[in-house]
């Protein structure tokens, strides 16, 4: 997804006139309403949904050989809002995370919009940490049974 002209101007400006706000939306089968947070100090309404102010940190995807690109997210857990959900949802298995970015002056225009799988969730007193990425479906076997030295040692 490419940035709008206004977004591009903001990113390239030597002194940007407003922040580019990052938004997170965590969806899961056990969540009646998705968790929506914005990395700012006041809440914002984007496309009719309210995002509450909550500090978080995103580490962008790496490019390592022999592995799918992985990013990481760390959300503030001081208020313990996420703890109950994590306990009742088997550690948030199957959760999806949508990462968005908007400019406060035009909150209904998404400058960035990505949806990723959220896995490897861990929690401590201060943060909820998780890994972002895509399931490595390209490395999965295409058939249920295949001939290899383990399943058919006599062939090799």
């Amino acid at each position: 997804m490419s940035l709008t002209q206004k977004g591009r101007r903001n990113v390239l400006a030597t002194s940007a006139d407003e922040p580019m706000l990052m938004l997170l939306e965590i969806t899961h089968a056990d969540l009646a309403v998705p968790i929506r947070v914005v990395n700012d100090n006041q809440k914002i309404t984007v496309l009719g949904n309210e995002y509450i102010a909550c500090p978080f940190q995103i580490t962008l995807a790496d490019d390592q050989d022999q592995q799918v690109p992985k990013a990481a997210v760390s959300v503030d857990n001081i208020g313990r809002e996420l703890t109950t959900w994590l306990e009742t949802s088997n550690g948030g298995k199957g959760a999806k995370l949508r990462v968005m970015a908007v400019l406060p002056s035009s909150p209904d225009i998404l400058e960035v919009d990505m949806k990723m799988d959220l896995s490897g969730l861990s929690i401590n007193n201060e943060t909820v940490d998780g890994e972002l990425g895509y399931r490595n479906t390209m490395m999965r076997a295409a058939v249920g049974m295949r001939y290899d030295p383990i399943s058919s040692p006599g062939v090799f």
Partner: protein, 115 residues
């Protein structure tokens, strides 16, 4: 939300403030650095001296911190001593320090406000 007690006053001597928009600045070797704000509202750190007139008010203030703002962690409404606008404030790390020159009591602390 709790309100800053009316018997306590923020006095002018020793007052200071530092607004922070969390500006990101590119750490390049040369050329014009890029800067961008990270927040829409500044978090304003304020060094304040809070004056109460007697021991009774000092004890009341301690009680207010304990019960109303949960040991100094909670937000409260504060009328900004500079522009007289009501803002959300809290005591940084819940720490404040009393001293008395005799009679009145003065608490030194750091507040942070939104905006």
């Amino acid at each position: 939300m709790a309100t800053f007690p009316s018997y306590a006053r923020i006095i002018e001597p020793g007052y200071g403030e530092a607004p922070d928009y969390g500006v990101l600045r590119s750490p390049m070797d040369d050329g014009l650095a890029k800067q961008r704000p990270r927040r829409t509202l500044p978090v304003v750190g304020r060094d304040v001296q809070i004056l109460v007139l007697d021991k009774h008010d000092k004890l009341e203030f301690d009680k207010w911190v304990k019960t109303e703002i949960n040991g100094g962690t909670g937000w409260f409404d504060l009328v900004d001593p500079v522009d007289d606008v009501q803002k959300k404030a809290r005591i940084v790390a819940g720490k404040y320090r009393w001293s008395t020159p005799g009679g009145v009591w003065i608490a030194s602390c750091q507040l942070e406000t939104l905006g």
